[in-house]
Structure formats: C-alpha cells, structure tokens
C-alpha cells in the first residue's frame, strides 16, 4: 500500500512527530498500528486524535469515577452533550466547554468561537439551544492587558449569543492573580428537545453518504486541538495564525437548517466540526459506530485554493457540520440546507472496513484503521504526588478582627470579586426567547419550560482558592454550592456538567489536584444524587511554568415543578421576617475576607457536610413548593454579611434589621450549608417548624424594611444606608476597569 507523501511536506520521523505533539512512544505505537511509517497527513490526524484535548488520555482513568447514571439520565458522557429528562415529554441537553487558550491569544474571537462550539454540541443532538452561561476567570484587573482581555471576552460571548438569539442567563466571574497569564473562558449551553427526537453522532449503514455543510474550509486554526494541549510560552505567540474567526450569523442559519433537516428523517448521524475539525468529526462518528469511512477530499469546499489534505483534515474553520444521510435521500437534506443559503457537499461514504480511506487528486492521501486511533487511543495513569507542604497550607490562619465591620463590608463590596457583575451581563441578551423568568444576578437563573407549569434552573460554581488548598473539598464544595443555589429557587437537580481547568498533568502535583477534585465532585454527586452527564477537561493552563489554581467549574441544571411560588434572591416586602438556616461556625481557610482584606491565603477550606447540604436543599425546595417564602439566598463566598447585603440589592433596594450571634470577623466566616430566607410574619411559624422537621438549624434574626442595613449582636455591630452600599457595589466593576 502506498500513501501519498508530498515532497513539500516535512519528513516523517520521531522529531517531526514531536513537533506536532506526539511522543516517541506514541509515534512507535502509530507505526505498529499501521504496520508501516505514516505519511504526514496520517501523522497529523493521529496527533490531533491523540491530543489531550480530543483523547482525554490523562484524565480518562479518573473521570470513570463520576456517577453518571440516574433516573433522569438518557445520555451520559460520551456524546456531544448529555441528555436528561425534565418532564412533560421534554429533555434538556447540555454541556460546558473551555476556550481558554484561544481567548488568551485573541479574546474576542476566542470567546466567540467558544460559544459557537458549545452551541453546536447542543444542536447536533437535535435540541434547540435556549440558554447559555459563561464561567470566567481573570487575573488582576488593573493590568491594561487584562482589561483588554476582559473587554474582548465579554464582547465575544455577547457577540455570539446575542446574534444567535440565545439568552446568556447566568455565569460567574472571578479574579485572581493565578490567572494573570492564563485566563479561563468556559461556555455552557443548554437546549431542549422532545423526548423521542434526540440525534446521535454514531455512523452506520454502509453506502450512506457523508455530507459536509456550513462554512468553507480555510487555513484557520490548524492544530488548535494540539495547541490547547500545550502550556503557554513565547512560542505560542508565533502560533497566532491558528486563531479562528467566528461567524455567528452562519451558525444561526446552520442551527435552523440542521433542526429542519433533522425533521426530514433522512439523517442517520450528525456531528459538528469542533477541535481537530474534519478529523475528529468523521473519525469519532465512525469510531462510535464501528464503521469505516471513505472521504474524497477533492469535494471538501475550500475558502481558498491549494489546501493540502493535512490542512483540510486539521483546519478548525468554524460553523461546519458533518452528517451521514440515508442513501437515496440526500436530496431532501440538501434542499433544506440550500434553502437556508448554506453549502452542502457530498464528501464520501460509510464503509464496513473499519478504516478511514482518504483520497485526493486520484491518490491515496491516508489509509488508517479507525478504532485504534479513537476508541483505543493511548490512556495514561500519570504519576501523582501530594504536595509536600500540605500540612503547612492547612495550618489554621490567624484571623484579624475588623476594626469596623461596616468598612470591611464596604471594602469587600468594592472588590471586583464581590462587585455586581451587571456591567458584564448587561452586554448579553438575557431576555430573548421569552423564557427568562430570572436572569443573571440571582443564585440560579430560571427559565420557563413553555407549555408546562415547570421551569428549568441553572447555575455555575467553583471556588478555586478552596480547590488549591484542598482539591477534594473544593470539588465537593462546588457541587454543594450549585445544589444550594438551585434549591434557593426550588429546583431539584437533574444533572451536572463540568469544565475541569488544570495545569500540566505531567506534573505529579497537578495530577494529584485533578484526581482529588474529581473525587470531591464524585463524593458530592453521590451524596446529593446528581449525575454527571457531560463535561470537558482543559489541561496545560500554565504560562512559563506557572499553573493556575485548579478550577473545576461545575454547571448544574434543575427542574422547578411549579413556577407559581418562585421566591427572589432579594427582599421583596417591608416587614418580612428573616430566618437564617444552617449552623454557624468560624471557618476561614481560603476565605475571601482574609484574601481580599489582608492578602492572606491560608488554611484548609470549610468543611462540606453533604448530609447537612442535602437536608438544607430539601428544606428550601419544600418551602418554595409550599409558597412559604418571598426570598431565598444562600451564603457562600464572603459569608453572612455579604449575603445579607446582596439580599438588600433588589430592583428596589430594601433595608433590614437583624440581631445575630455573630460579631467581628465571624460575620464573614464561610461555613457552608447556610441560607437566608424571608417570609411574611404569618408564615414564620410554619417556616421554623419545617426547618425543625427537616433537621436544619433555623433562627429568626430580624425583619426587612427601611433604608438601612442594621446588624446587632448584643450591641450594634454596624448600620449603613443601603443605597450607599448599593452604589459602591453596583459601580465598582466599571470603575475597576477604568471606565
């Protein structure tokens, strides 16, 4: 068998293999699989498929620990996105994915194409996307380059979702110097579909045509998947031409055309071209289905002439899809795409050989077996080592008392970390599609499930400082906080997706962080009965050897059976009674109070009592279902006083007077498993009784009303006009950005 090796292409040897990301052993493994030397195209294909990004080779062994089954799960990890039943014949399809490296190089296009990619993952499954969220991590905000990145990322996320007409209803934004050289941009998308209308990316049926639809293929983003699997250094600068440009308009048209084409019944399988473009899409489809594949590369629509097979197979041009149609019914499918002004090309067919055969200009451009490159890609159990200074990291911090709690509160509210994120989400269309009952700004976003009494709730959470000091606790805490946020709107969790952002897994400490974080997430998912249905791993988040803090972002989706009693995260009415739920302790490991006011990061993060979290979540859901509360807001970063202040910042600000057994620094303790609720005086007894029955400590601490926030603990602790606090909080972010 002779395959084409063009003279203009680099010679194939261990060294050139390494230059595109394959290790020597991997190169040998490939030669063994082929029984000969690969040509350059085959080498490129393999390097992409075996990149960390596509193969999950360093993470696979741990990801297996996730609980992935549950009564609602229709599709767990392994497809483009996970699928859960949300009742009334509907399913929710969702996933989260990172676009960190591209966004650091070019924030606008990088974040745009991140949103574009995750949306394709969702609509490829046959679901109409109805919501997006974005989890962002930036470095110190005063650096000009960081401001440029923040501005570009926010514009990009908005630019894509706004044009597509999909509301961005929530997210989170954090700032820490560990992201100075490596920001994180994680995009989440959720779609809905009827139960029996789900599509898969599993090829079948010898002789069925392989169709290419969407934008033409250019030279953009060649080897993006490999780039996402490397750390940053000066060389990355030179890889700039790999930047991909997003075209949300084409994607919008592609979305409509795909959903319409799916209704013809003539589509067997469909897959978007994401990382590693044509390679991963066709190989993964065939790999899952156990089929072979013949591609005629002369048929691939090109944006400019002269692309080589290597370039065609590795280009990451955006807004493209591959689908397998039923033989003889191509016309029906093609007609739909043409009507929407999109190009369709018949680029090959499904075979039974189990091989991918690529022809070009009448010659063989590549001929490789599929499964050994996909399902049987290398898997590594990398060395793991606990950090040697763990005991020192866990030493309990010395906690200074604030001179003036009011001043401490005001200072915290003015940090980018706690400041209102309105400046960000006001640039996102969050009301399009007329489903948004509660948009950004609360604990969880709430969407209508039109035609039913129910709603969908979603939230995204993680505390990287906790994860750095104790990745297992940090992982569990992220899940627990997400459950709590959902419970505050009365939602029962049905599944989660994650985006695990870590440093270089070849370093034993990073692998340890990863293993522990996955364990923590798994512990909490088991205890709280939340299956993991999809996710994404992003390694090599390092610059010049400086790793980010482990950041396993978690996005969770829940169902609210009935929207008629939905509480608010803010105080609604004067004279409502405020009840604090959960147990107060003095816990400051990794706490924001120490970090932001005293520049001190120290100690083991707060304990996560999963049983207590479960009891609290059940209680909150019960209170919402019975319509007993007007307000529910959980306590998280910053503790009691921050949450209390936030609850005063509704569309109309409203004060509160409370008396608590907390004083000084303890007002900012980050003990988990707590929430604030407010109810009409007449409902107070029932709220307290429900708490007692649920086994959740509860005490009435005061009432809402007036224009002041007054906290007493024996004597007066602080008193501040709410409008002033609100002013500080709401203007801090644009101020910090120099706007």
């Amino acid at each position: 068998m002779t395959v084409l090796q063009k003279t203009a292409e680099p010679a194939v040897n261990a060294e050139t293999a390494r230059s595109i990301g394959l290790t020597e052993e991997e190169f040998e493994r490939l030669k063994k699989i082929l029984g000969r030397d690969p040509n350059w195209t085959e080498l490129g294909i393999t390097s992409a498929l075996w990149s960390e990004h596509c193969s999950y080779k360093s993470s696979k062994v741990y990801l297996k620990e996730f609980p992935t089954a549950g009564p609602h799960v229709l599709q767990g990890p392994g497809e483009n996105a996970g699928v859960v039943d949300v009742g009334h014949g509907w399913v929710a399809v969702f996933k989260m994915e990172s676009h960190n490296h591209p966004s650091f190089i070019e924030p606008y296009q990088g974040s745009m194409t991140g949103v574009g990619g995750i949306l394709r993952d969702v609509f490829t499954m046959g679901a109409r996307p109805i919501a997006c969220m974005d989890a962002l991590r930036f470095g110190e905000i005063d650096a000009p380059r960081m401001r440029f990145l923040i501005d570009g990322v926010v514009r990009g996320i908005g630019g894509y979702g706004n044009c597509m007409g999909i509301p961005t209803v929530g997210g989170e934004t954090g700032f820490h110097r560990c992201y100075d050289g490596n920001i994180l941009v994680n995009a989440f998308a959720l779609g809905i579909a009827r139960h029996d209308r789900i599509f898969h990316a599993r090829a079948s049926g010898a002789g069925n045509p392989v169709l290419y639809v969407g934008s033409r293929t250019g030279r953009d983003g060649i080897h993006g998947a490999t780039m996402a699997s490397e750390s940053f250094d000066k060389e990355s600068e030179q890889k700039r031409p790999t930047v991909q440009v997003g075209d949300p308009f084409t994607e919008k048209v592609l979305l409509e055309a795909c959903l319409e084409a799916m209704r013809t019944g003539a589509i067997v399988a469909i897959q978007d071209m994401g990382a590693a473009g044509l390679t991963s899409s066709t190989f993964e489809m065939a790999g899952r289905g156990g089929t072979g594949l013949h591609l005629d590369l002369d048929q691939v629509p090109l944006r400019q002439p002269g692309l080589t097979p290597y370039e065609m197979m590795l280009s990451e041009s955006q807004e493209r899809m591959v689908l397998v149609a039923k033989k003889g019914r191509e016309e029906e499918v093609e007609k739909v795409f043409r009507r929407w002004g999109l190009e369709v090309a018949d680029i090959g067919e499904i075979t039974t050989t189990g091989r991918a055969v690529l022809t070009w200009h009448g010659e063989m451009a590549a001929d490789v077996p599929i499964q050994p490159l996909t399902e049987e890609a290398p898997v590594y159990r990398r060395p793991v080592a606990e950090p040697t200074d763990l005991a020192a990291r866990w030493r309990a911090p010395e906690v200074p008392q604030p001179d003036d709690p009011r001043q401490a509160l005001e200072e915290l509210l003015a940090t980018p970390e706690f400041a209102s994120k309105r400046w960000i989400w006001q640039q996102y269309d969050h009301t399009v599609r007329t489903n948004t009952v509660q948009g950004p700004g609360g604990d969880a976003a709430v969407l209508l499930l039109k035609g039913t009494p129910s709603g969908l709730a979603m939230t995204c959470d993680v505390n990287p400082v906790y994860c750095y000091f104790d990745p297992r606790r940090g992982g569990a805490q992220a899940v627990a906080e997400a459950v709590r946020n959902l419970a505050c709107v009365g939602a029962e969790p049905v599944g989660l997706t994650d985006c695990l952002n870590f440093g270089n897994p070849e370093r034993p400490e990073i692998s340890w962080q990863f293993r522990e974080a996955v364990r923590g997430i798994s512990d909490a998912c088991r205890a709280l009965a939340v299956p993991v249905i999809s996710g994404n791993v992003s390694f090599y988040n390092e610059t010049e050897g400086q790793s980010i803090y482990p950041t396993p972002a978690v996005a969770m989706v829940g169902v609210i059976p009935n929207l008629s009693n939905l509480p608010n995260p803010w105080f609604q009415r004067e004279g409502d009674r405020i009840v604090l739920l959960g147990e107060d302790r003095s816990e400051f490991g990794g706490a924001a109070y120490l970090r932001l006011l005293y520049d001190l990061e120290q100690g083991r993060p707060p304990e996560v009592d999963l049983d207590a979290e479960l009891r609290l979540a059940r209680l909150l859901r019960g209170l919402v279902a019975r319509g007993l509360i007007h307000t529910a807001h959980d306590l998280s970063e910053g503790g009691f006083l921050i949450s209390l202040a936030e609850a005063c910042f509704g569309r109309r600000t409203l004060g509160a007077r409370v008396e608590v057994p907390l004083a000084g620094a303890d007002l900012f303790s980050e003990t988990q498993g707590r929430a604030l609720v407010a109810c009409a005086p007449a409902a107070l007894d029932r709220v307290l009784q429900a708490a007692e029955e649920a086994g959740v400590p509860a005490r009435e601490i005061g009432e809402t009303g007036g224009g002041e926030l007054v906290v007493k603990s024996g004597g007066e602790v602080l008193s501040a006009p709410v409008d002033r606090l609100h002013e500080i909080w709401s203007t801090a972010l644009p101020k910090a950005l120099g706007l």
Binding site: D220, Q244, T250
Partner: protein, 86 residues
C-alpha cells in the same frame, strides 16, 4: 497633519462581513463582483507636521489600539493638507 489608517482582516482569515456583502451585491444585481473585503478606515488629525514622527505615531497607534494584529493588517497613508475626504 492628517492621515488615513486602513485596517483589513488578514488575507488567510475568514471575513464574514465581506462574504455577506458580496452575496448581497450578487443578489441585488451585481453578478460580476467576485470578492469583497470589509475593513475599517480611520481619519486622524495628528498634532505634528513631521512626516517621520507621524509615521512612528501612527504605527504605534495601530499596534496598540486601531488594529488587532492577531487577525488584522493595517496600512497607512498621509493625506494631502486639505484632507482627501470629500
């Protein structure tokens, strides 16, 4: 001194706007148009009359602000005293 800075998406990079405009022109009756590239144009009044200084300043402006050199190329032009713009 007045100058014009023109910024275009790099050749090898997708230009969705140019493509959309070309398609629209074809649709409304200009079938001969086979390529459109869409860029930005800035007319800048500089506080200097020194050609070299102007050139240096303009380049710096482009690198810093006017162009995103990751995805765009720029070109410079000094306009005749009166300003070439109609």
């Amino acid at each position: 001194m007045k100058a014009r800075v023109t910024v275009y998406p790099r050749r090898e990079i997708l230009d969705p706007q140019g493509k959309a405009i070309r398609d629209a022109l074809t649709r409304v009756g200009f079938p001969g148009v086979d390529d459109v590239r869409a860029g930005k144009s800035f007319e800048i009044s500089l506080g200097t009359e020194d050609l070299q200084a102007a050139d240096r300043q303009l380049r710096e402006m482009c690198e810093k602000l006017l162009a995103n050199t990751v995805v765009e190329d720029y070109s410079l032009e000094i306009l005749g005293g009166a300003g070439a713009q109609p």
